[in-house]
């Protein structure tokens, strides 16, 4: 038996889920569980109650608006996003999800879980920041919309506070996007990653170089301009067993330029 004793509820509606979160301050939302179950085994997290979101139909589904806006339910799995005909309106979404871990993890892991864990090495935080997505959060105080850039507050911390739930991610129309990374093995954890969107201006979000994605806006999509903008951004990445701070800083320039180059090709 690896986990501490824990309570479990599988609500069928958002209201019920918010009710359990309000009643149990030590409760945590359980999405796909591909991170949370493991950190519970390690006792790095010990929630009193798990609120399983799997039965809440409001959190599922992918909708494509007539203007090309995509609405992604927080409980959409990577595999569902990869297979979605609607999501091909923004091809980078499926492309990046196909680089996450392995088949089994992609089958269970959700986009909402990926962003709510706010792990600085995850793929989706920089991607949604670069795309200018909006996150819808509901809680006891009602519903609000948080721009992706403001959603990530720190390592494992987001704007979805205690008693609140991320319900959907809204991605505006656009096609010229890119993503590049240097992972630990194919589809492994990223050492550095970068997402780029060139729809109008050039917008790059760097991952793994700080607690939250770092936005850089080069004046042009030229590689030289991107390198320069990342160099001037003042990032001070962490050092660890996989890369020194200085090496990460240099990699950030390279992956940012690659992401912008891909974006320039129209994805």
């Amino acid at each position: 038996m690896l986990l501490s004793e824990v309570g479990y509820a599988r609500p069928a509606t958002l209201e019920q889920a918010l009710g359990v979160l309000a009643d149990y301050p030590g409760a945590r939302a359980l999405a796909g569980g591909q991170t949370l179950v493991n950190v519970m085994k390690a006792r790095a997290a010990a929630p009193d109650v798990l609120v399983d979101l799997a039965a809440i139909s409001d959190l599922k589904g992918i909708e494509l608006g007539s203007d090309g806006t995509l609405e992604l339910g927080a409980m959409v799995t990577y595999t569902e996003l990869i297979a979605s005909a609607e999501a091909r309106a923004r091809p980078i979404l499926g492309e990046v999800c196909a680089q996450i871990a392995d088949v089994q993890v992609r089958n269970r892991g959700t986009i909402g879980g990926n962003v709510c864990v706010s792990d600085p090495t995850n793929h989706l935080p920089p991607l949604f920041v670069a795309l200018g997505a909006d996150f819808t959060v509901v809680g006891p105080g009602g519903e609000r919309t948080v721009p992706a850039q403001d959603f990530f507050l720190g390592v494992y911390m987001t704007a979805a506070g205690p008693g609140e739930l991320l319900t959907k991610i809204t991605v505006p129309p656009g096609r010229s996007d890119g993503f590049a990374s240097v992972p630990i093995g194919v589809d492994g954890t990223c050492i550095v990653n970068a997402a780029a969107s060139v729809n109008g201006g050039v917008r790059v979000a760097l991952g793994c170089v700080g607690a939250t994605p770092v936005v850089v806006e080069p004046a042009s999509p030229d590689a030289e301009a991107v390198h320069g903008a990342v160099r001037d951004s003042g990032i001070d990445p962490p050092s660890d067993v996989h890369a020194s701070s200085e090496y990460r800083r240099r990699l950030a320039e390279v992956v940012a330029a690659r992401a912008v180059e891909q974006a320039g090709k129209g994805s």
């Binding site: 501490s4 109650v49 798990l50 089994q104």
Partner: protein, 161 residues
């Protein structure tokens, strides 16, 4: 809304329905192995990395160490025990034997479930699709090449030396 620390879990595993009282903290792999005595699925790493515990849950390949048994309530599960009928190996299992795709055999139950899931979706997978399909399964004996060949052969494709 009730919060429980244990509940009755009802699952269908390889066509048989089981009902057990299970603690919420119990992982699906331990439920399968210790409660249902279906010890074909293995615990390799317990951290979600090795894939030895892979099973097919409602048609979807999952690692059963990253799922609580209570999350699987009401679902239909396929494990390695359910692959062959009446002591006859499946084409895939026979291909594993023919191509020496196992040595110690510890990863094999997970490899077989991953390959089974692949071949249902892609009856004639490309080399890249085979490699991607077993990406979540670690084998420390074979170097993967023989497993790759076995999966390719099971799909009816020519396998080089």
């Amino acid at each position: 809304m009730d919060v429980v620390t244990s509940q009755t879990v009802s699952v269908e595993v390889n066509g048989t329905t089981y009902e057990r009282e299970v603690e919420a903290r119990r992982l699906l792999i331990h439920f399968l192995r210790d409660d249902l005595d279906l010890t074909g699925s293995h615990v390799g790493c317990d951290t979600g990395n090795c894939g030895a515990c892979s099973v097919i849950l409602d048609g979807t390949l999952v690692k059963s160490c990253m799922l609580l048994a209570v999350q699987a309530d009401g679902s239909s599960i396929e494990t390695v025990e359910g692959l062959s009928q009446e002591d006859e190996l499946t084409t895939l299992q026979q291909a594993f034997s023919d191509h020496h795709a196992l040595q110690c055999g510890y990863c094999t139950p997970g490899m077989l479930m991953s390959a089974t899931a692949l071949l249902r979706e892609q009856p004639t997978p490309s080399d890249d699709q085979i490699a991607k399909a077993i990406q979540g399964n670690i084998c420390r004996c074979t170097g993967y090449w023989n497993i790759f060949k076995a999966v390719k052969a099971a799909s009816g494709q020519e396998v080089g030396e």
